[in-house]
Amino acid sequence: MGKDGKTVRVATDVGGTFTDLVYFESDAATGDQIIRTAKVDTTPPNFAQGVLNVIQKAAVDLNTVDFLVHGTTVVINALTERRGVKTALITTQGFRDILEIARANRPDYFNLKWVKPAPFVPRYLRQEVSGRLHTDGSEREALDLSHLPDMLRTFRADGVQAIAICLLHAYANPAHEQAVLSEVQRLWPEVSVVASHQITREWREYERSSTTVLSAYVQPIAARYLDNLEAGLREGGYEPPLYIMQSNCGVDSVKHARDIPITMVESGPASGFWAAAELGRLLDEPNLLALDIGGTTAKCSLVRNGQVSIKTDYWIERNRLNAGYPIMVPVVDLVEIGNGGGSIAWVDEFDKLHVGPESAGALPGPAAYGNGGTRVTTTDANLALGRINPDYFCGGELVADMAAVRRAFVQLSERLQLPVDEVARGIVRIANDNMVNALKLVSLSRGHDPRELTLVAFGGGGAMHAVALGQELGVRKVIVPRGASVFSAWGMTMSDLRRDLFINRFVEAERDGALAQTQAFLDELMHNARAQFISEAIAPEQVDLQVYCKLRYQNQEHAVEVALNSDESLTEHWPVIAQRFHSLYEQHYTYRLQAPLEVIGFHLVAVAQIGKLNLQALPITGRPLVEAHKGQRPVDFALEGIHDTAIYDYALLEPQMHFSGPAIIEDAGSTVVVHPGNQVLVDRLGNLHITLTQEGAAS
């Protein structure tokens, strides 16, 4: 809290096109809250400048800010645009080609001309050291570093700027990697270097190598970026610690982020899903389907019992046709599809209509932007159906170019031999179907019945499609948060300091003494996790540890995470823990076995709370609903027909207001489409609760 009794929390988010800021000021004495948002253009290559620009535009005095958190797409963009540095890899003798062999899969399997993804490090920069470990981490052959000086000389001559180190079985024992790492640092102190054990302690050498290489590849760029950012903020008078949003829905110190930048890879979506989980806690809605629809993609994730699910099975550039590249770091468990507001509708050679994954992006954008876009996007279809108001397009900042929309539709309409309104309905239905299948992947396919979940929709396009998706899935309620378009940034300001450690340790649970040894190993892990936070000046009582034991039936590969209660030990409470595994397994896979159990490792979540906003209820002025009623217009609800529909101004809605669909609610960042028969209620925080009474009518 600041000297004047006010707390100021600021989140900034660098995206591909825009850099956003959200400012929250709360006054402890009066309970007053001020919320401001601002947006400027992103400023490549000096992205930090955009952050300083947006702080200036929002008139934020950095001297008064108590907590500043920052999220960025710089890492993922550097990867997908191949803008990283020249990187070398040091690996175990006999295995330098692992990175290139990869997993050898051909997802586009009928296509004999399929192209395998090229490795990020060419073969001549992949070099080997001899020395081997057993699977349990014990040494089989001593490490030989005698060739390292020559190797580094060659790397230097070749213009290498970053080095990744990944040795076999380093997840079990990092000693060899540590020796290589310190020798590299001694011989070549200026080079950027990272070893696999610093990022992950899980087995699978290709995935670990890829992760380490990709981290090294972006490390110098991320370091420069974070250094510039921090220097700029300090210059502006910001003194408290700077926090960086991570892919695991937590924030971490800027130092940690600089050392292992790859953990920022999905920081944007992570903060949105965290926001959904936080909102669920505020509203007592612990089981949520969270959906974030942006310009080019839709992402979804499941929040179960108030918890986000964090996994390390994350790949970039992977889809039905491409093998992609694995990044084995803790990332919120999400499904992403190429369906957003800017997704292009197209017809294949057999007259079948598709939507996405190609996107019109920010430029030219949808035809309605009037920037030369000639192809119909989902946004254009929503305009054609009257769901989006052409006179209040992008919050009134643009006038929708409806002539361009009509021109764009002509081609599709002729091709399909269908009238424009039919085509527009088709586009929205197909886009919705793509999203429904993604939502099913994170719910139904994982054994969770959507009827027991509440759908939370955010991002620029979330509220437009949410009700139709909710009806299709059979959820009972859709929540559209107030300020849905800046919801992700809000999530950042609510984040905790969080670290997820995944570590493999193979144990046959029923072997004598195995569990006692494993518990000792676990105790040490927990102690280290606490000690690390404490060394960073976090009070011990602020640190909360949650342990998940990864269990499976003997001989299986995929494990189920079983949460351990804080007072449980593997030795004393094994029967209870095993029972918990059996029932979780059955929930996921529909059957259970008599087979012996194996522990394959742990997932440790270390969290330190760093203060949260307490959201203030909105005032109730007693304004009649009719004042928020902007007018009426016909809106096409596809299978539910065309209805004369009430249009409401979101900014004028206040708590306890309620009305029924069909309705459209407009605010600056998004449009909420309420289908016929739905009931809308505004809660004390200004969020919309839309109860679905009609099941499965739309799609």
Binding site: G94, F95, R96, D97, I101, A104, R106, P107, Y589
Partner: protein
């Protein structure tokens, strides 16, 4: 039908794809054997009520064409009313009766009913480690009759109206050397077909049975239309090719392309053999279907309709249409041989459409024994990866799975060492010179396994060990696939097709797979590309000089 229904049909078709994919994911996660969850030697699919494939999940292209044949056989074997009921699950593995491949590949199929009417089937296929037979792993190059290859299951009902039939489960459990694995993999497969069936029922309930069935029919028609339109872009004509095989025999293919049909004639081929490399007619059809798909529309939809314009001619009693009791354990090498032969015949006529020959062998590698750390029996069963052929404008891919495999993953070294109690001493690209051309064939691999326990064994089924992968447009041929066993005393033994080779602690098993064929004359290769190859070690200095004429 109103216009709106066009999109309803699209949505149902997309959902069929999504459900097949979901079954794949579910099965992979729950499976117990690395060959299923890691190598993904498995496939999932949905057929219509008659057994025509409606949609397939990720996995192996060779398996896409298996599930329909298995379901059709189940239907044939259960013609009476009431023999197929809601909640039933059938199990099949007999290549002579709808199983298509070999006894290790087990198909589970479940009829999906709505309002008492059979709508569709969900099905999957996966490689089981051991189904009994004369050797561990059930695959023996010595087998002369299918009875030596394990338990035959021809359209057997395993679950009746939701209740497992105990006696069948007991038979299964007694007929494997690895009953625990068997049970885990079995239930993973059952969970997958059941999950898929539930989703299909929800889909038909939502849109109505008639619309659901119309969507499946329309989808098949789309598949057929896709193939026909691709055929129209090919000049009609008659092609022929014959090719000598590793064992000296000669395989022949004749292909007739018309505007509405592609006919692949494989009748003029050797009689079925006494060994285990015979192919069922269904297996041969699968090979032809994969080549047809690669030629016509590799990225379009694939379903029962896709293959309507394809006709495959075989001669009963031949290697490609073997009759019981022919052994079929190593069917896959002749399946891939005939697949490769068809491709070669087509590529020489349409070099812009298809690449040069690849290593084209499953290179099945089986190593078994007792795990030195756990004391339990283990069996490593793996297809190997190899070099792919070059094509116009591009070098071939290094180290990927053969044309029979697709979304298949190799086993990580760290997982391999833990599970099998072997040391992997090396996993690298194979730099043996070969596959030269204006565009170079991709590199195969070297894997060296150090055996840690006495009384272990090796079985392998490799072809292209004598006749190398073919080049295209004057590109040079690739290199061979083989195994060398290096004994403790340094003695070296070379193998390609062999079973139950004894191994002891300290022996080294060296897997070598070949480079793909080159495309175009080596002399036409961009000198900078040759210099890059030398820098990266893909081509040695001598070869750069002698084959590519590069002054260095």
């Amino acid at each position: 039908m109103s216009n709106l229904d066009v999109f309803t049909l699209d949505i149902i078709q997309n959902s069929l794809q999504a459900i097949a994919d979901e079954m794949f994911t579910a099965m992979r996660k729950a499976a117990m054997s690395p060959i299923i969850y890691e190598v993904l030697d498995m496939g999932t699919g949905i057929t219509d009520a008659q057994g025509d494939i409606a949609s397939s999940g990720a996995g192996i292209p060779a398996f896409v064409g298996v599930l329909d044949k298995a379901v059709k056989q189940i239907l044939l074997q259960h013609p009476a009313p009431g023999e197929i009921e809601e909640g039933d699950v059938f199990i099949t593995n007999d290549p002579h009766s709808g199983g298509v491949t070999h006894l290790n590949d087990v198909v589970l199929a479940m009829p999906v009913f709505a309002k008492g009417r059979l709508l569709a089937w969900t099905a999957n296929i996966a490689h089981w480690n051991d189904v009994s037979g004369m050797v561990p792993g059930s695959l023996s190059t010595e087998a002369t009759e299918i009875f030596q290859e394990g338990l035959r299951l021809a359209s057997v009902k395993l679950i009746s109206r939701g209740q497992p039939i105990r006696s069948v489960l007991q038979i299964l459990r007694c007929n494997t050397r690895m009953p625990d694995f068997m049970e885990g993999d079995l239930w993973a497969g059952i969970a997958a077909v059941r999950g898929g069936a539930t989703r299909l029922q929800a889909l038909s309930e939502k849109y109505g049975i008639e619309v659901f069935l119309a969507a499946m029919r329309a989808f098949m028609e789309l598949g057929e239309k896709t193939s026909l339109s691709a055929l129209l872009s090919l000049p009609p004509g008659h092609l022929q090719k014959e090719e000598r095989q590793d064992d000296g025999s000669v395989f022949k293919v004749a292909i007739q392309i018309t505007e509405r049909e592609l006919i692949i004639d494989l009748r003029d081929n050797p009689d079925q053999c006494a060994g285990p490399t015979n192919l069922s007619r269904d297996g041969t059809v699968v090979a032809a279907q994969m080549a047809f798909k690669a030629l016509t529309a590799p990225q379009g939809v694939t379903n029962g309709g896709t293959f309507r314009p394809l006709r495959v001619l075989t001669r009963p009693g031949s290697l490609f249409d073997a009759r019981p009791p022919a052994a079929e354990g190593f069917y896959f090498e002749n399946l891939i041989r005939v697949h490769d032969l068809i491709l070669r015949c087509l590529a020489e006529r349409f070099p812009e459409r298809l690449p040069a020959g690849n290593f084209a062998s499953v290179c099945a590698t089986i190593i078994g024994g007792v795990h030195p750390d756990t004391g339990r029996a283990f069996t490593l069963v793996e297809p190997e990866i190899g070099g792919w052929g070059a094509e116009r404008g591009r070098d071939g891919n290094n180290a990927v799975y053969s044309g029979l495999h697709g979304e298949t993953f190799n086993c990580p070294v760290e997982v391999c060492e833990a599970r099998y109690g072997l040391y992997v001493e090396r996993m690298a690209l194979n730099d043996e010179p070969g596959g030269h051309g204006q565009f170079r064939g991709g590199r195969g691999i070297c894997i060296d396994y150090r055996i840690r326990a006495d009384a272990s064994f090796l079985t392998c089924g490799y072809t292209r060990a004598v006749i190398a992968p073919w080049g295209l447009e004057q590109g040079l041929e690739g290199t061979h696939n083989y195994i060398v066993v290096v004994r403790q005393d340094g003695a070296r033994e070379r193998y390609a097709m062999a079973s139950s080779i004894s191994l002891d602690a300290g022996d080294l098993v060296q897997v070598r797979t070949g480079a793909g064929g080159g495309y175009g004359l080596p002399a036409d290769r961009d000198p900078q590309a040759v210099r890059d190859d030398v820098k990266n070690g893909y081509v040695d200095v001598d070869t750069a000089r002698s084959v590519y004429g590069l002054p260095l």
